[in-house]
Amino acid sequence: MSKHLSDKAQSPAPIAVLHGQDIKTLPKNVYIPPSALKVLVTDFEGPLDLLLHFVRRANISILDLNLRELTEQYLAYVDMMKELQVEIASEYLVMAATLTEYKSRMLMPRQQVLEQDEEDPRTELARRLVEYEQTKAAAAVLDLIPRMDRDTHQAHAYRSVPKKDKALPEINMQQLFLAAKRVIKKIEQKEFHGVLVKRLSVPERIEIFMAQLRASKDFITFNKLCDKLNGRSGVVVSVVALTEMLKNRLIEVIQLTTYGEIRVRARPAPVKDTRS
């Protein structure tokens, strides 16, 4: 759009043809929404790009640039942006100031400039423009290089790797069984089972022992005698029964060595008789 506006200033060519008539001036009530101009500003990468555009349009070499003309064009552009209430990036204003400074330096008597051994501002600006133009060219060159994913693609063949872990499903099966087993076990653990308390009687045990001892007539080891069928309480009852029998002098208990076998036998009847 800016190109359009500035072109109008340069060439007297009609800007449009309406109903067969050339229109040479813009209608005054034309409304340009400021948002449209935002696109325009971003069209240029920066002030140098804008200046380069002016130079190119004038079709002159950078080295022959007319600083006064260029500055005026540039300032007109910045003014236009201001008028259209477009936010101007600070670097555009910096360049405006720089150009104005260059222009004023150019106005100074040449003699003085030479004496001060100052660089011609045109040279400075031209150097920057050339450098920037080269950067743009470099970017264009870079963009043309065939690059991966856009122009070339890494060739890749499917490589079938023999899978060594084929046994994996089997292991899984086993694990499945084991897991099932664990679950079943857990369920079993949750089942109720009643515990019956077996009443063991000491007198009953004494009678059983007496019958056993009398039948053998010889020593019977405690180990053999002991009731092992009723677990811990059976053993306890056996010991209590034997102690009771010993107290009542019904039996003789001997142990030959320390920690040795304890032997038990029934006391002969006559001894018992004399006592009682």
Binding site: P47, E133, A138, P146, H153
Partner: protein, 179 residues
């Protein structure tokens, strides 16, 4: 080992690999009894390169080694299959990358001075994320600003064996006359 067979083995290796392979890693495939030396390797790669001409792919030497890639002239068709891959980059992005590539080592300030605009942090972040640039040192000026340069990944991506293979820039007089 015959050159033709060696060329086939190398082709297989390069196709099986997802990244470029250099001579050193290619050599790992052979034991001493195979009696393959580097010169055999190079001649086999040459055979492979000419064999590729019959196919859609070509042998390409990058900074990281060798890679077999689909020829660039087929790109228009390939890009239709994967439109998301062939992203294009903005002029700003390419200008910054071009400055770093052609003028490395270079500081952020240098880039800003040449372009006349502040350097966008986004561009630098993308360049870093793509691993195309890295800090290569510090400039010997006050503040010791970071100097940036390109990486082997950049060369790989742009199909360049070395930095010297960057295409020459059109010189001043040329740019003046164009357009």
């Amino acid at each position: 080992m015959k050159v033709d067979q060696l060329a086939l083995i190398l082709e297989g290796a390069l196709l099986a690999s997802e990244h470029p392979l250099n001579i050193k890693s290619l050599m790992k495939m052979f034991s001493e009894s195979d009696k393959v030396n580097e010169q055999d390797m190079h001649s086999a790669l040459q055979v492979l390169s000419s064999d590729c001409k019959k196919h859609s792919y070509e042998l390409c030497e990058t900074s990281d080694g060798y890679r077999i890639q689909v020829c660039a002239d087929l790109a228009p068709y390939m890009s239709r299959l994967w439109p998301e891959r062939s992203r294009s980059y903005s002029p700003q992005f390419l200008e910054v990358l071009a400055l770093i590539a052609y003028k490395q080592p270079i500081t952020r300030a240098d880039i800003e001075a040449i372009r006349g605009v502040p350097l966008s942090a986004y561009i630098m972040r993308v360049l870093n994320e793509r691993k195309w640039i890295s800090a290569v040192g510090q400039a010997d000026v006050p503040g010791k600003p970071t100097l940036y340069g390109t990486t082997p990944e950049f060369l790989d991506y742009f199909n360049l064996p070395t930095l010297d293979d960057l295409p020459p820039l059109p010189n001043e007089t040329d740019t003046k006359d164009t357009e």
